[in-house]
């Protein structure tokens, strides 16, 4: 890609990621949540991969790590559900304090679930994108 595209994406990618984190963390207060936040973060990855491209081996390594990220995100979500079972005897029990409504530390386990979903969705979408890019490289 041209120098303009590379520079603009370099400037914007961190901002997009910050916005994705914001949407995720405020998931229980504002529109959006883990899924939307994860998608936005994956959008930054899409931008960088499209602007900079990369060698086959490098992209393959990245695909491996995003895939691992995805699995750990979903495992974190599983852990939240099972902690309820272990601590309180009920699957998905809210085991954290409910906090003050409309503040960031509220709503019990929902923010934690949102973070897990963001990691999972961000990892999954990036993995799909990288798999498509690698497939395209195989075709050529």
């Amino acid at each position: 890609m041209s120098e303009i595209v590379k520079t603009v994406s370099r400037i914007f990618a961190p901002l997009i990621i910050v916005f994705g984190i914001y949407v995720t963390l405020h998931g229980h207060l504002t529109p959006g949540g883990g899924f939307a936040g994860g998608l936005i973060i994956a959008g930054a990855v899409v931008l960088l991969v499209l602007a900079y491209g990369g060698e086959r081996e490098k992209l393959e390594g990245e695909k491996k790590s995003t895939s691992r990220l995805e699995s750990s995100g979903i495992l974190l979500f599983w852990l939240v559900a099972v902690l309820g079972l272990v601590v309180g005897g009920i699957f998905f029990l809210n085991i954290m304090g409910k906090g003050l409504p409309f503040t960031i530390f509220s709503a019990g386990i929902i923010p934690v679930c949102n973070i897990a979903i963001a990691v999972e969705v961000g990892g999954a979408i990036s993995t799909i994108l990288l798999a498509l890019v690698l497939f395209e490289k195989d075709e050529n």
Binding site: R68, S71, S72, G88, I90, L93, N94
Partner: protein, 491 residues
């Protein structure tokens, strides 16, 4: 009570962990351990009556349920035992069989996801939760059909995915219409509202559900994907798909909603019986002409699903008993037959019946167990299939439905015909020259085939009153009591 969530939690844990780690032995051990413990737990459930589990501990407000409910009653227990039994046999078989594929742990990951989805469908007492689990199981099965990644597998998986997605959209539309009419997603509450407010939407929603779940169950006009999808998957997965997936996602979900939420009416009963009879005749007739071993078994699944629908659709306690017993029997002998076909492919490399012959001498365990399964599915006494078909036919006679009884008998003769053909072409007759080097399959594969064959012989015993009262009668009661299911809301 405490261990109901394990039916979802354990397989999901296995799936997520196995997507992270590589060593094959870990996958073998973990998947088999999980399935074994689930089977043990589902037998333990027999000791309990009806259980209602509120996810997250959300208690009802003013008597209106606000959280997701899981319901374990007689019917769910029967289904859980069937699913986890076949799943355990399939994973034991996979230990050797899947060695020839790459990425064995990914396979176990998808397998466990599918299992979690099916257990979820069985346990869920919430309409939308049921849909979510149904989608988990379906999507995992689409990718499992494509697992071999050959041209044929990919085409079959694509077709399966398109048809499955159309089915899911019908189901989702139906759920949305019901939700807008009743204002609740809890199935027991929905039954209560429909009983008091009137059953106006049931005609249209029932049609949507019969199309949607009928497509998942491969009832006759909606069956076209099955003969492609089921043979293309690896053999243990074919066993899971034909053995339990079509029954859980299709038949179980359909009868649970029709009997327990809508309440069975004579019209719905007639529709189910006619569809069942068409399936059992046409599926059987199409099976006769097949040359491909696994494709023949797939058509035979359509035909046997017809028997189950016919029996349960009859709506009398005896008919329901026959239908449920045939459901149980069919999952055992059909998964055994698919495992047999997998063993034949493993040993010879082909599933074209014209290129096989005389394998009984070389593969005694495979040949013997497939003979038992074939006789069982064809309804030869004293094997298990005979008893369930007998109960269905007697139930038709008692209900004065002589026409359906005659069709059921004719269908049984056709079944015998094409399984005789399988036995003659594959296992009996002279051994072909190019098959002289064939060897019997390894130990784990033999083990699961033998266990299933023993079950085929002995499962007719479930009709003995003492055993029937443990397993089958509670399941029949649930369907017989119909919309008394609404009473669960007071738990």
């Amino acid at each position: 009570m405490y261990f109901l969530p394990l039916f979802i939690g354990l397989p999901l844990f296995g799936a997520f962990v196995l997507s992270l780690i590589k060593p094959r032995r870990v996958g073998d051990v973990l998947a088999n351990l999980i399935n074994l413990s689930l089977l043990v737990i589902s037998f333990l459930l027999l000791r309990f009556g009806t259980l209602v589990y509120k996810i997250g501990g959300w208690e009802p407000v003013n008597g209106i349920p606000i959280g997701i409910y899981w319901v374990k009653d007689g019917l769910s227990t029967l289904m859980l035992i069937i699913v986890n039994l076949v799943a355990l046999m399939a994973t034991i078989f996979s230990v050797n069989y899947m060695e020839r594929f790459t990425e064995k742990n990914r396979y176990y990951c998808l397998f466990l996801l599918m299992l979690a989805g099916m257990n979820g469908v069985i346990l869920s007492g919430d309409m939308f939760n049921l849909f979510v689990f149904l989608e988990i199981a379906s999507i995992a099965s689409y990718s499992l059909v494509a697992f071999g990644t050959g041209a044929e597998e990919l085409e079959a998986a694509f077709k399966y995915q398109i048809m499955g997605t159309i089915a899911s959209s019908f189901i989702l539309f139906g759920i949305a219409l019901l939700y807008s009419y009743t204002g609740t997603l809890n199935m027991a509450d929905m039954a209560r509202v429909l009983a008091t407010k009137g059953t106006a939407p049931v005609v249209f929603v029932g049609a949507l559900f019969i199309m949607g779940f009928g497509m998942k169950a491969a009832i006759m006009p909606f069956h076209a994907w099955l003969p492609d999808a089921h043979p293309s998957a690896p053999a243990p997965i074919s066993a899971m798909l034909s053995g339990v997936l079509i029954k859980v996602l299709g038949i179980y979900a359909l009868i649970r909603i029709i009997f327990n939420v809508f309440g069975i009416t004579p019209v719905l009963s007639d529709i189910l019986m006619v569809l069942g009879t068409i399936s059992l005749m046409v599926g059987g007739l199409l099976a006769i002409g097949q040359r491909d071993f696994k494709r023949l078994l797939a058509y035979s699944s359509i035909s046997q699903v017809g028997y189950i629908i016919l029996g349960i659709g009859l709506g009398t306690p005896l008919g329901i008993l026959g239908g449920l017993l045939h459901l149980l029997n069919h999952s055992v002998f059909k998964s055994l037959l698919f495992l047999n076909s997998g063993a034949v492919v493993y040993a010879t490399g082909t599933r074209d019946m014209q290129k096989l012959g005389g394998l009984n001498g070389k593969m005694p365990v495979t040949g013997g167990s497939s003979f038992i399964a074939s006789m069982s599915i064809a309804g030869v006494p004293p094997f298990s299939g005979f008893w369930s078909k007998l109960v269905i036919i007697i139930a038709c006679l008692f209900a004065n439905r002589f026409g359906f009884a005659i069709w059921a008998i004719v269908g049984s003769i056709i079944t015998l015909a094409y399984y005789m053909k399988v036995q003659r072409d594959v296992f009996f007759g002279p051994l072909r020259e190019d098959l002289r080097e064939t060897k019997e399959v390894p130990g784990f594969m033999k083990f699961s085939m033998i266990i299933l064959a023993v079950l085929c012989v002995s499962m007719g015993l479930l009709l003995i009153p003492q055993l029937r009262n443990i397993l089958l009668t509670p399941a029949v009661e649930v369907l017989k009591n119909g919309i008394e299911y609404a009473g669960l809301i007071s738990y």
